[in-house]
């Protein structure tokens, strides 16, 4: 009996040991030392030269490498690294010459003539004016299905073409010769040059695109590049590698030799990878902020993204009452919201245009300095407006729904808003409806909400990207806000006014929207981020790509 038991055990041990061997074998590979990837230094050698390799992560796979189809930060960031338009975003989001060496502007501010420099595609061919013409016509062509084509709306006939009322060939863009491109606008646009730095405006080579057919931009081999880097490797859902582009016109400026990007969707994993030295940069969700707040690598990147409560004046009639809307705007303590709930460097918002985004063309003052803050938390004022509003409506109780997101952060915020409003406004009941982003977009589109937690980031360097959201019947209004004075000011700023007058008209428009309590601003977002101090020159952009790498380098 004893013998048999032993033999059985022995057999099992054998089976297991074979299995264990299989698990630890694996061809005798060792776990690489963190940060070893790509280093070519011999151990112990003291070198002046540090390897110019940056290791970063992105939170998603590249959705598309076709610049006319991009809609999100990842697509824009990759495009910014490997392609280049007429201009590119430099320091402080100011456009600097890219493929265009310079441009002339006609007296009436309508006709831009771009002079292209000698620049090459990675297949050796020249970047020519035709590449821009071909791509821009493709962007505005409704058959293309570009969701960002509105960004070309200022070019002559663009809107009619997008609506299918005109042929793409009618677009106000002309090739004068190989190196000269002429662009005619519908009306003068102060910020048009910054628009040309937007990835949707980048060129594509017709001959190459057509030679690839349906495979264009699907893999590295189906692409050619004209930017500071080339995409040398792309493993879907896993990551990609940029290599310095030796054919880039300004290659001498580019110091990074290689950028390794891995896709990491889980923030805790990303932080662990940063801790082991595998990556040089990581964004922090609020639960990690306190742990790393005193780390020398800790920084908060103040974004020009504002979040607010939209107040729909049609579904629940009470929201058409200005006092009710003001009560809601006064009734939220935004300081606790940013410091306790978000805890990531975000700041309270009291206006519709973010702080630190645009400045007065003459005085250099921030857009919001002229009229200051609106609806700073005040429980007494909230109650006063609330009672007045209820009296005007002849009711004592009100039920409203807050439509919000379903992420962890959103849920905390929604709960906080419910608590604040119910506490400060007696008789108010708030129901929460928490849905994924794409569902919220659709409900917004159908105006199927009372209060909606929403946000907006800029698409170009001008206050208009925020101001015109609240035009009567505008594509983003979707809450039935309407004020003729506001509409007039925005319309003037879009057509007849320029410079200081235009800027001040937008300031006045923004003031009117706030005085009407069209929306209730909540906070301006910041990103708590760890960036290794040896990473220099990486530009953080307020719109388009989150980061630009052309001027980045490693200095240890």
């Amino acid at each position: 009996m004893r013998k048999t038991k032993w033999s059985f055990l022995l057999t099992l041990m054998l089976v297991l040991s074979v299995f264990a061997a299989a698990c630890t074998g694996g061809g005798g590979e060792t776990t690489p030392e963190p940060g070893d990837e790509g280093k070519e230094e011999t151990p112990g050698e003291v070198t002046e030269e540090v390897a110019q390799i940056l290791n970063i992560i992105d939170t998603a796979e590249i959705p598309t490498m076709d610049t006319v189809m991009g809609t999100d930060a990842v697509a824009f960031e990759v495009a910014d690294a490997v392609f280049e338009g007429l201009y590119r975003l430099g320091e402080n989001a100011q456009p600097v010459p890219g493929i265009a060496e310079s441009h002339d502007l006609s007296e009436d501010g309508l006709v831009y003539t771009f002079h292209l420099r000698d620049a090459k595609w990675s297949d050796g061919s020249e970047v020519v004016a035709d590449d821009f013409l071909y791509t821009w016509q493709k962007v505005v062509n409704p058959d293309t299905g570009s969701q960002y084509n509105f960004i070309m709306g200022d070019i002559l006939n663009a809107n009619k073409i997008m609506a299918g009322e005109m042929a793409p060939e009618e677009l106000g863009v002309k090739v004068i010769d190989e190196k000269t491109l002429e662009v005619t606008l519908e009306q003068p646009v102060d910020y048009f040059i910054s628009l040309t730095a937007f990835p949707v405006y980048y060129p594509q080579k017709q001959e190459f695109v057509e030679s690839q057919g349906e495979n264009y931009a699907l893999e590295v081999e189906n692409l050619i590049f004209n930017g500071p880097f080339t995409l040398s490797e792309w493993k879907h859902e896993e990551g990609w590698v940029y290599k310095k582009n030796p054919d880039y016109w300004d290659a001498d400026t580019v110091r990074l030799e290689q950028i390794n990007v891995k896709v990491v969707k889980d923030n805790a994993t990303a932080v662990n990878l940063y801790d082991t030295g595998d990556i040089d940069r990581v964004g922090l969700t609020s639960e990690f902020v306190d742990k790393y707040r005193n780390d020398p690598a800790f920084t908060t990147i103040e974004e020009t993204v504002v979040f607010w409560l939209k107040m729909n004046q049609t579904r629940t009639e009470a929201l058409a009452n200005e006092n009710i809307r003001k009560a809601i705007a006064y009734g939220v303590d935004r300081v606790s919201l940013t410091d306790v709930i978000l805890n990531n460097g975000s700041i309270p918002a009291y206006t519709t245009v973010p702080k630190g985004f645009v400045t007065h063309p003459e005085t250099g003052e921030d857009f919001n300095d002229k009229y200051g803050d609106f609806y700073v938390y005040d429980a007494d004022k909230a109650l006063e407006h609330w009672n007045t509003g209820l009296g005007e409506l002849g009711i004592t109780e009100l039920s409203l729904e807050i439509l919000g997101g379903d992420t962890e952060t959103s849920k905390n915020l929604n709960a906080y808003l419910k608590d604040q409003l119910e506490k400060h406004l007696p008789g108010l009941t708030i129901d929460l409806k928490e849905v994924p982003f794409n569902v919220r977009l659709d409900l917004d589109d159908n105006q199927d909400y009372d209060l909606q937690f929403a946000g907006w980031g800029p698409d170009y360097l001008d206050a208009m990207t925020f101001v015109d959201l609240w035009l009567t019947g505008g594509g983003h209004n979707k809450m039935e806000y309407s004020n003729t004075e506001f509409d007039q000011l925005v319309s003037d700023a879009k057509t007849s006014l320029t410079g200081v007058e235009r800027f001040e008209a937008m300031q006045d428009a923004a003031r009117i929207a706030m005085e009407d309590a069209a929306i209730s601003p909540l906070y301006q977002r910041a990103r708590a981020t760890l960036i290794q101090p040896y990473v220099k020159g990486m530009l953080i952009q307020p719109f388009g790509p989150d980061y630009s790498y052309k001027w980045a380098y490693i200095e240890k």
């Binding site: 959705p63 189809m69 969701q147 990878l273 801790d275 794409n438 659709d442």
Partner: protein, 309 residues
């Protein structure tokens, strides 16, 4: 056997057709938009886009088109990834998921069986209690908790294995262990119960009385008969692994299909939802079929070809 398999395959096709139809109509009830930049579009542009992707057609027409294309092997193109077609997207990402799934199943089953057998043979000893404790732990603690703990302590603090990514065998060890805890627990508990049951049955006593040695009795008779019910459980477990690996793939940054399944529903990527549902359904049905065939192999009392109920 062959006749049985052909018959089963025929029913598989019918099942898949029913799944495709049900999913399609349910998906049409999903709220939301597939256009992530919808808030930037005018009504006209939105209509143009919907026309482009045939989303304005009546649902029965869309359904007929979809089924027609599917029969031709065309699952359409994804909304999330430019013009990439769904078949390519799935084939691109299936490798790591399959690797992790199979490795998890094999590891979980073998280790689970081992612990189960030990527990049965050493009833009411520390061996038994230890294995029971492990099983309770594996069953009650979610795999992502194991994953997080392992990643931090084994990956970051001790540096034994890579923290994340998918770049060789050493990268697969932590995800496999974290992912297999549940399978391991189920297999261990099942094995223990069955083994105790079988060891006390008459034919084992007879075998022992005939003077067969203990090893032959345990392995040839008891183990084989105890495995039958286990196979029943492992079939559905395989299916569970497909969805269970979703969190594990995310935590260890594995470029697989798991996360994409949830993501596609989240962003209303209709072709991707359909493609993945069909793909996973086919896999699960296949897993169940394999289990049924294995039954016939391990248990001669089950005759598949009979088929007459």
């Amino acid at each position: 056997m062959a006749k049985y398999i052909v018959k089963r395959l025929f029913f598989t096709l019918i099942t898949l057709f029913i799944i495709a139809s049900a999913t399609f109509f349910l998906m049409k009830l999903l709220p939301g938009t597939p256009f992530t930049a919808q808030e930037k579009l005018t009504e006209e542009q939105l209509e143009i886009l919907k026309d482009k992707y045939n989303l304005n057609d009546p649902v029965p027409v869309q359904y007929a088109n979809y089924i027609g294309n599917m029969l031709k092997g065309d699952l359409g193109v994804s909304f999330q990834f430019g013009n990439r077609n769904v078949t390519d997207l799935i084939l691109d990402r299936i490798g790591p998921s399959a690797h992790l799934g199979i490795q998890t199943l094999i590891f979980g089953a073998i280790v689970g069986i081992f612990f189960g057998v030990i527990a049965a043979l050493k009833q009411n000893t520390m061996w038994d209690y230890g294995s029971t404790f492990l099983a309770v732990l594996g069953k009650s603690v979610p795999s992502f908790v194991f994953a997080g703990i392992m990643q931090y302590f084994i990956g970051v603090k001790l540096g034994w294995f890579p923290v994340a990514f998918w770049d060789g065998f050493s990268y697969t060890i932590m995800p496999t262990i974290a992912n297999s805890m549940f399978t391991l627990a189920v297999a261990a508990r099942f094995m223990r119960t069955e083994m105790i049951d079988v060891l006390s049955s008459d034919y084992i006593t007879t075998a022992k009385a005939k003077g067969l040695n203990s090893f032959a009795v345990t392995v040839k008779h008891a183990l084989r008969n105890s495995l039958i019910p286990l196979i029943t459980v492992l079939g559905p477990l395989t299916a569970g692994l497909l969805t269970g690996s979703l969190v594990i793939e995310k935590i260890f940054a594995i470029p697989g299909l798991g996360e994409q399944f949830v993501r596609s529903i989240y962003v209303n990527d209709y072709p991707m939802i359909m493609g993945l549902t069909m793909f996973f359904s086919a896999l699960i049905i296949l897993a169940i079929l394999i289990v049924d065939i294995l039954y016939g192999i391990v248990d001669p009392r089950i005759r598949l070809a009979g088929g007459n109920k």
